[in-house]
Amino acid sequence: MSIRTFRGGVHPPERKDRSQGTPIERVTSVPQVVIPVNQHFGAPIQPLVKVGEYVKAGQKVADAEGRMTVPVHASVAGVVKKIEPRMQSNNTEGLCIVIEPKDPPEGESAQDYMLPLDPFACSKEEALARIRAAGIVGMGGAGFPAHVKLAPTKPISYVIANAAECEPYLTIDERALLEIPEKVVDGVVIVMKTVNAPEGVIAIEENKKHAIPYVQKAIDENPQVKAGMKIRIQELRTKYPQGGEKMLITAITGRQVPSGGLPMDVGCVVSNVGTLCAIAEAFREGKPLIERGFTVTGGACKTPKNLVAPVGTLVSDLAKAGIVEIDDQSLGKVIFGGPMMGVALPSYEIPVQKNTSGVLLMSEQEAVQYEEDTCIRCGRCIRACPTSIFPALLAIAIESENYAEAEKIGLLDCIECGTCSFVCPAHRHLVQRFRVGKQVLRALKQKEAQNVR
């Protein structure tokens, strides 16, 4: 089996050893959950419950009509205490439903799951409806609604399970591969069935080689595979951003997702390990996405761990409960997500969301900040950029407010992976500049469109 990869990229220090060896720990009791109503990429939804209402775990608490919406479920059984704006992991205040756990009235179940559904006996529409009803979004980062992704309008030749986990520090996917590979494989199989793909690929980075036998075993044992479904494991070079959707596709198939296009344009569907597990659970157990696994690690975290906790768990509650020990003295930066693409937050009193793959508690030493120096035009970013969009030139174009040029260079193709900023010897805020640039460019385009009209 050859090791594949893509052009560009970097290899930041992994630092996965901290939490690599700790098995996934399930958090069951939390003092409260703060469930953000809008956790997905798409149209906003509204709460369906009122303050004081009793909700069961798995009960739908917010939803709305519309293709790009995903419902949200109560992750614990309890009473709705408040519905108010709270700081979310994207650094803005958003409407959250605060639920305090409470035992259900006598004789009633604390759970309100759906009935299991056999993915191989139902129609495609039923399957998609189930995925939506389970509130599944892409758990890798952006939170793209899974039912939309799994309803491609073009023929799909590959379903790719993204187990690259290229972000440093994060180990939850690795643990999942080691501990519940059968669930992952099951998820792949279900997705393959749903999108009618002939081949499934589980993409694993070289540094997680030790998980391959487990996964292989799970594949071999999977009844569907035995029945003839084709799933293989693809080893990939350890390199960031190997787990980027586009990079993954290029590494495995050699195809390039066209500019402005989606993976389905090149016949691929890419799903994160967590998403696949959630899909498997949604069908097999009828369990909506109310729990998620994530890694808590970082220099200021004394107990690096892989946890599975109800969606909406505040990290501060975990600390109070002693599940996670945080060194407040040395804590310098709180990041939800990985160090390359995660969001820095002002505190850790923030709920874990459906798309939170890790909570990074960086110490002061780790969280060094650099003053921006002038660009020395070394071209490191150009060599590292996985999308070949010449970050240095792009930054200059943006700085000189030449947005036409910036667009030509490929501003909108930037995947914000952070590679360029990582390698920059002058510590230029390249990614941030591109984010702002994208915003301005989109605004300009909108304005132009209005003027034309």
Binding site: P85, T92, E93, A344, H429, Q432, R433, R435, V436, N451
Partner: protein, 285 residues
Amino acid sequence: MIETILLTIGFSAVLAFFIGIALAFFSQKFKVERDPKIDEVRGALPGANCGACGFPGCDGYSEAVATGRAPTTKCSVGGSATAETLAKIMGIEGGAAEDRVAVLLCQGAVNKTVSKGQYSGIPTCRAAKLSTGSVKTCAWSCQGFGDCTKVCKFDALAMEEDGLPHVNYDNCTGCGLCVEECPQKILTLVPRTRVGSIVLCSNRSTVKASVIKTCKVGCIKCELCVKSCPEGAITMVNGIPVTDYAKCTSCGICVQKCPTKCYKMLETDVFGTKKEVPVMEEAQA
């Protein structure tokens, strides 16, 4: 010598005569019809080329006006005077543009607000907002990096020590570039002659406690202003009290009642330093 002179004169006379005729002839023949109004309009514009009118510079606007594609009131730099001149040129009744100035709807100076964290990154409001939501705990606060001051073409905005942009009302032309630039959208254009009360806060949080925690001069939604207004001119709109200037009598009760002093009088508190205080009677009438 005489010959040379005569020859020269003869030669140059013939040459010049022909050139003169040719020039006159060609200028007639190749004349491209151009509406003289364009030049006239262009002459009446201030020529700041600020683009606030939405056209490519003064030239673009003048052409649009002359061809009737644009109203005469779009030039906010020139204000009503220009609008009238343009209207005169175009021969239509002038709908005089309101002379407006920019007002910052936030008093969140550095010592009055709480910062969210130690921001490091590109020092512009837009970048800071994009990366941190808001550098201050109030999500509606002025970010304080002065994006607005950078776009001002009239030297009317300057960042001061309190970390807020201050408007120089003598220079402000109401072009609205800063209003557009502000990522928080907390700058607004107010008619220069307007009198009455205004709330200098944009916090739309419905959670009272959060406002108290985040800002010493924020609107805490106590609604004392609404309750105290004798004219009933103040209503809460989208979490912020709004004055109805048709009813406001500039009595100043709301300003006195406001516990966090975020209610201000336009004529004294906001335009305070301006010499020509607008005539009140006129506005009331």
